[in-house]
Each structure stands twice: as structure tokens, then as C-alpha cells.
């Protein structure tokens, strides 16, 4: 009974705090100085048409590096918990997949992978980027696994892709210290014209590696969840 009272107290207190914050809230008419600086100087300094990409990859690139590390850690812990012992696993006895599902998956899987690659290559021009593209690639793997439940996912390939793209991300950042203004500075390559595919310096390259790394990590989680289904 006392516990319920505590819960009600917490909720009412938090609700009161939220109400005082939201009451009479009015959004600003113009940007605050930091955002104004990014909006005015960003297209010239970074060269990306999508200003969110400029903030994520260049102005706050170190945050992105930390985020990718956190995602790697959580994928590793999930893999540790759901590890299956190889060798003695028997064939899974599941209800067979229907003909329509198999044909549609064969048709759609390349399209889903292609969409993922499009999303992270065009991250600096259109909405999207490495994280969204990686999630779409992992969804493509889910579609493949739904069509063929007994398919073996190559963990070696996933680990190799993940390690190489992580290393390349840090390597590009260190090259920025040596040859440009600082860590993850994107003026390593030419800026190009605003709005074309080969612009914004090194941002497309970084987003390709981020996309591959996030895709490999999420695929790792999904593949471990699928493989752990056969042991009770």
C-alpha cells in the first residue's frame, strides 16, 4: 500500500514539474545564436545540404563515435547472452514457409539492400544517413531469415565488416588531425558544389562506414536472436 502511495507521489510530482514547464510555453521566433551560426556558416564550412548531417558528422562527430561504441557494446552483450553452442544443434522443426513468401522475399531483398545503400550514400543531401541505412540493411537480413529459417548467417563476415569500418572511421578522424583542422574535420577532400553527390568533403565516406558498422551490429543482434530460437 505504501508502495502505491510512493508511485502516486512520484507521478504527481513529475506531472506538476512538467506542467509548470509546459504552461505558457511558446517556441522562439528565431534561432538561438549557436544554431544561427551553424545555419549561416554550415553550408560554406561543411558543404552539406542537410544541416542535421553537418551537426551529426562534423560539428559533433565525437558524439557519433561514442554512440557507435555504445551500440557495439550492447550488440556484444546480447551476443554473449544468447550464444548457442555449435555442433550439437539439430535441424529446426518449423512450419514450412509458403511459396508466396519465398518468391516475394527473393524479389524484395535486393531492393531493400539497395534502398539502405541509397539512404546512407545520400545522407548529406536528403533525409537519412548511416543509422537509418544500417537499420534498413538489418531489416533486409530479417526478410532473408524469414524466407529461409535454417539459413546460416556468416558471423565471420559480420565481424570483419564491423571491425574494418570502425577502424576506417577512426583512421579518417586521425587523418583530419594530421592534414586538416582537427579530429574528424571534413575538409580533407575537396568541397565540391553544394547539392551534388561528391560534395561535403569526407562526409559521404564517413557515412558509408557508419552505415556498414551500424548495419553489421544490428544484423549481429538479429542473427543471434534467430539462431537462439532452436534451443529451449
Amino acid at each position: 500500500m505504501v508502495k502505491n502511495l510512493y508511485i502516486i507521489l512520484v507521478l504527481v510530482g513529475l506531472g506538476f514539474m512538467f506542467y509548470t514547464f509546459a504552461d505558457g510555453f511558446e517556441s522562439a521566433d528565431k534561432l538561438n545564436p549557436v544554431a544561427e551560426r551553424y545555419a549561416k556558416q554550415g553550408p560554406d564550412e561543411v558543404g552539406a545540404a542537410n544541416l542535421v548531417t553537418a551537426v551529426v558528422v562534423t560539428y559533433r562527430g565525437l558524439d557519433t563515435l561514442g554512440e557507435v561504441t555504445i551500440l557495439f557494446l550492447s550488440a556484444a552483450i546480447v551476443a554473449f547472452f544468447l550464444k548457442v553452442t555449435y555442433g550439437e544443434e539439430e535441424k529446426r522443426q518449423t512450419r514450412s514457409v509458403s511459396e508466396i513468401m519465398q518468391t516475394a522475399a527473393r524479389l524484395l531483398t535486393p531492393a531493400v539492400f539497395l534502398l539502405g545503400i541509397y539512404v546512407f550514400i545520400n545522407g548529406h543531401l536528403t533525409p537519412g544517413g548511416g543509422f537509418q541505412g544500417g537499420a534498413i540493411i538489418a531489416s533486409g537480413l530479417v526478410l532473408m531469415l524469414l524466407a529461409k529459417p535454417n539459413m546460416k548467417v556468416s558471423h565471420t563476415l559480420i565481424h570483419v565488416v564491423e571491425s574494418i569500418s570502425g577502424l576506417a572511421f577512426v583512421f579518417i578522424g586521425v587523418l583530419g588531425i594530421l592534414y586538416a583542422g582537427g579530429f574528424l574535420d571534413n575538409s580533407l577532400m575537396g568541397m565540391g558544389t553544394l547539392g551534388s553527390l561528391l560534395s561535403a568533403g569526407v562526409i559521404p565516406l564517413i557515412y558509408i562506414f557508419v552505415g556498414l558498422k551500424v548495419g553489421a551490429e544490428l544484423s549481429n543482434i538479429v542473427a543471434h536472436l534467430q539462431e537462439s530460437q532452436n534451443e529451449a
Partner: protein, 123 residues
């Protein structure tokens, strides 16, 4: 109707959504339901952050039709909260997957999803 802006609507729904999520996290007995409550709390907080970063009558911070380099500072929304929420959503998925893996392991030990059956660390 005139003095209620788009950001007020989003702010209030985000606030109530996060309160509902916290209520579910505190009162539910089933572990999976608690994780669902956590996911709702996550979404509510993202809504609050985006609503705070909205600028009146603004458009997306992408240079293209209607937004040029010259007038970008006057017509776009704040890009910084959007970048932070982008990061937060991906980390939220990682945390949810981690909590679900814990739930599977806990269920393997005791064959129960009720949180009241786990008293090992209670004294």
C-alpha cells in the same frame, strides 16, 4: 485555437506520453510489459526534445526548394536537438535489445515473467 501552436500540442502529448510510460514502468508486474513502458517513455522524451527545438513556421533544415544559403537562418528549424534525438533513438534500440536479452535469461532460470518471483537481490 490561435494561441495554441503546433509545438504546444506536441509538447503536451509528449509530456503525457512520458508520464504514461513511467506509470507503466512502475506499476506493471510483467517484465515484457515493463520494457514496453520503457519504450513509451523513450518516445515521449524524444517528442518533448523535438517540440522544444521547433521554431515558429519553420521548415526542415535541408537546403533545397524554398531554402537557400542566404535565407537559411530565417526559415529552418533548430538542427541541434534533431541531431541529438537521432542519436538517442538508436541508443534506445540498443538498450531495449539488451533488456530483452536479460528478460530471456531470467525466464530461462525460473520459467516466470512475474517480477515478484525474483527476490534474490531483495533484503
Amino acid at each position: 485555437m490561435e494561441n495554441i501552436g503546433l509545438e504546444n500540442i506536441a509538447l503536451f502529448s509528449g509530456l503525457i506520453l512520458s508520464l504514461v510510460g513511467l506509470w507503466g514502468l512502475l506499476t506493471q508486474k510483467n517484465i515484457i510489459k515493463m520494457i514496453v513502458g520503457f519504450a513509451l517513455l523513450d518516445t515521449g522524451i524524444h517528442l518533448i526534445m523535438i517540440a522544444v527545438g521547433y521554431v515558429k513556421n519553420s521548415t526542415a533544415p535541408i537546403i533545397g526548394e524554398g531554402v537557400t544559403k542566404a535565407n537559411a537562418a530565417d526559415v529552418i528549424a533548430d538542427p541541434i536537438p534533431q541531431a541529438l534525438v537521432l542519436t538517442a533513438i538508436v541508443i534506445g534500440l540498443g538498450i531495449t535489445a539488451l533488456m530483452l536479452a536479460y528478460a530471456v535469461k531470467m525466464h530461462q532460470k525460473k520459467k516466470s515473467l512475474d517480477i515478484n518471483h525474483y527476490k534474490d537481490l531483495k533484503w
